[in-house]
């Protein structure tokens, strides 16, 4: 190797090829472009968050997961969709190994919907396909997500937090129906003496 002729392509060019002021000007321009892009992205996020009321679900509410099935908001007879006096809907669900209870809920379209979930056992995940609804369900806490659906149809609701050997079978559905059809779907109330 030592007797090979030197490769002219490896010749080291002398420094200072690009004028110093040109280097500084180029870096300043690039910095301005980057800051401009960051400003646009931040402005888009802030403005749309304010106009669309977007923010991460951050409800912090404790609940006793030991007595969940015995009394309170999450007893079996109180699960599912309930219409509130203000016209909105509240959906109460329990995520447990390895199912959501109830397995399918109806909600009206174009209506504010509030999902309230909790878990009696381990951490589960709550996500609705084709929407931005996404939160974790942690035992001992009540997770709350507010949204509204504009498109009627069926939305899949898989658990997306590994919760055990049956995790892959933990699916449920949310069926969004036109607002005027929703009252017709209201089930006949069950009688129950479980304290709520």
């Amino acid at each position: 190797m030592a007797d090979e002729p030197p490769n002219p392509l490896q010749r080291v060019l002398p420094g200072g090829i690009v004028p110093e002021d040109e280097v500084v000007r180029t870096e300043q321009r690039w910095l301005i472009i980057m800051l401009g892009m960051l400003a646009v992205m931040m402005a888009v996020i802030v403005v749309t968050s304010l106009t669309h009321a977007l923010h991460p679900p951050s409800n912090v509410e404790l609940i006793n997961s030991v007595t969940l099935h015995l009394k309170g908001e999450f007893v079996e007879s109180n699960l599912g969709t309930a219409l509130e006096p203000d016209g909105s809907a509240t959906v109460r669900l329990i995520a447990q190994q390895y199912s959501f209870v109830p397995e399918c809920v109806n909600v009206p379209a174009d209506t504010p919907v509030k999902f309230r979930l909790t878990s009696p056992d381990v951490i589960h995940g709550f996500i609705l396909g084709d929407t931005n609804v996404n939160t974790m369900v942690v035992p001992g806490f009540v997770s709350e997500v507010r949204t509204s659906f504009t498109t009627p149809g069926e939305y899949t609701m898989p658990c997306h937090e590994f919760c055990g050997v049956g995790h892959q079978g933990m699916w449920a559905r949310v069926t969004v129906v036109p607002r005027e059809q929703f009252p017709k779907l209201t089930v006949v109330e069950r009688t129950s003496c479980v304290p709520q």
Binding site: N7, P8, L9, R11, L13, P14, I17, V18, P19, E22, V23, R25, T26, W30, I33, M34, M37, V40, M41, V44, T48, H52, A53, L54, H55, P56, P57, D130, T131, N132, V133, N134, V145, R146, T147, S148, F149, T150
Partner: protein
């Protein structure tokens, strides 16, 4: 009749591997410092163009995801 035994590829290689750029006649002629200075007197515009295209595509992609995918999926809170 036994099957012919193919010679391994390594049997045809003489000396260490060299890329096509090893031979000066296969690549562009090297430029001198004066030519390089002339080409770069206004800054590395070619590199800037490529960088701007890459970052611009990334920015357009971010905006497209945000406005065409994220926002239509509805608000949450």
């Amino acid at each position: 009749m036994p099957a012919p035994v193919e010679e391994p590829i390594s049997a045809h290689i003489e000396g260490p591997h060299r890329s096509a750029a090893h031979l000066p006649e296969h690549v562009a002629a090297p430029i001198g410092a004066a030519t390089a200075a002339e080409a770069l007197k206004d800054g590395p515009r070619g590199a800037l163009l490529i960088a701007a295209m890459a970052v611009g595509l990334l920015f357009i992609g971010w905006l497209a995801f945000y406005f065409l995918l994220f926002l239509p999926r509805g608000s949450v809170g």
